[in-house]
């Protein structure tokens, strides 16, 4: 039986924390929550969708980016490295605005685009939000994948080759799984960083959780309470991501 023992100073700290939370619950205004519950949940859902889709798409992009840098022909390696430097060297907010305002300002000049079926999608902020977050995740993760690919022991790859394995089979069966296993522990932190990057999309009028709370603050003139609840929700999300990773880790080690 694992015993759960709380040292006395933690009990005191917890009590102080509970008192502070209790005082906040009584003295601050929370009556706006029921009216905005549906909006907050919708924003939360969109934040989660954005987090999951951009992380998956970004990771899929990061694999070729890492592979090209670790083992690709020189021009390809340079291109991949240049991409990662570009992404990692500039703020995500700037990349987002560059895509949304910059690319968006070019599209009207393309003949025929305005009448095509693509147009309604191209004027949708979600498309640019998805694109910018995916490209950014790929840039940071590509750099990590490069290291992971390079650190797979050479002997294993040589063994596969000496068995007559096709290079693609080697990649699929040995190189990629070994590299991915290596980056799994770092993915926890990367996912939390990606979660913290999602509110930026509110600046191009995509309505995620951050934007919903921004609207609440504008409509109710309440300054702090929505901010506190929003911070708490992000904290819980980050905690859940970490818990999920711990669960996967402990299942694997058994």
């Amino acid at each position: 039986m694992p015993s759960f023992h709380l040292p006395p100073h933690r009990i005191v700290l917890l009590l102080i924390g509970l008192v502070i939370i209790g005082l906040m619950a009584i003295n601050m205004r929370w009556d706006w929550i029921p009216a905005y519950r549906a909006d907050i949940l919708a924003g939360l859902r969109l934040t989660l969708v954005l987090l999951v889709t951009t992380s998956v798409a970004g990771f899929l992009l990061a694999v070729p980016l890492g592979l090209a840098q670790a083992a690709g022909p020189r021009p390809l390696a340079w291109l991949a490295r240049g991409y990662c430097t570009l992404i990692r060297g500039t703020p995500l907010l700037l990349q987002l605005w560059l895509l949304y305002y910059g690319l968006g300002s070019l599209f009207p000049y393309l003949p025929g685009l305005r009448d095509s079926w693509l147009w309604p999608y191209l004027s949708e902020p979600w498309l640019y939000a998805f694109l910018a977050l995916t490209l950014s995740f790929a840039g940071y993760e590509g750099e990590i994948m490069r290291g992971a690919f390079a650190r797979v022991p050479k002997g294993e790859l040589e063994a596969a080759r000496s068995l007559g394995m096709h290079p693609l089979t080697t990649l699929r069966r040995i190189w990629l799984p070994r590299a991915v296993r290596r980056v799994l522990p770092t993915l926890n932190g990367e996912l939390i960083i990606q979660l913290k990057a999602t509110p930026l999309v509110a600046t191009i009028a995509a309505v995620d959780m951050y934007a919903v709370f921004g609207r609440i603050r504008q409509e109710t003139y309440i300054v702090y309470e929505p901010l506190l609840l929003m911070a708490l929700l992000y904290l819980v999300l980050a905690g859940l991501i970490t818990l999920a990773f711990h669960a996967v880790e402990s299942r694997r080690s058994h």
Partner: protein, 241 residues
Amino acid sequence: MVNYRDMSIGELLALTPPGWGGALLNGLSLSLQVAGGGYLLGLLIGVAGAAGKLSGGPVTRDLLTCYTTIIRAVPELVLILMIYFGFPLALNQLLTTLGFGRVEVSAFAAGIVVIGLVQGAYATEVIRGAIRAIPRGQLEAAYAMGMSSFLTFRRITIPAMLPGAIPGLSNLWLIATKDTALLAVVGFTELTLASRQAAGATKHYLLFLGIAGLLYLFVSFISNRLFRTLERRVTPGERHA
């Protein structure tokens, strides 16, 4: 109204109005100042936090863990709003209870506090890791020689931890320069917001946002070189290599 449509790129980027080059450089300088101030504040918090985490009492350690966990899990954009609106209020409440008059907190000062608090949480972990990597024998030897703990910290701990801490600290500086862009959401005219204002006024979005990107890349390129030189300087045994 200035007619931006017929201006050449050179005229658009001219340092004096109607060109927007001066506004961009002004934004860059503001970005670097806030990043620099925040970074220094973050280093101070980081050294104090690492010292507290390594040799503080159980209460100090728990409170510091709360600080680093919360700061690292809540989006910077949310923290900026909270500190930007909360910090002046808290400061003025403190000042009025102490009997002083109210002060105006500028966007600039609030920006430095925000970046500093965020950087402090990460710097605490970087410096703590670097200090823990120092062989215990070195510190014990210093105590055995009769050095006071402050002298040990200054003469042994700091020089011995720097080679291990500098890669992390250089990464933090790059994060600080990029995090200043987030101050755009509270209307602080740093480089990103300046470039967007220029782009919005002239309708040359790709040009101005692209130039801002190049300026950020330039800053990170120069910073990388400086930190690499610094790392070579503080790593013992490689100075003369």
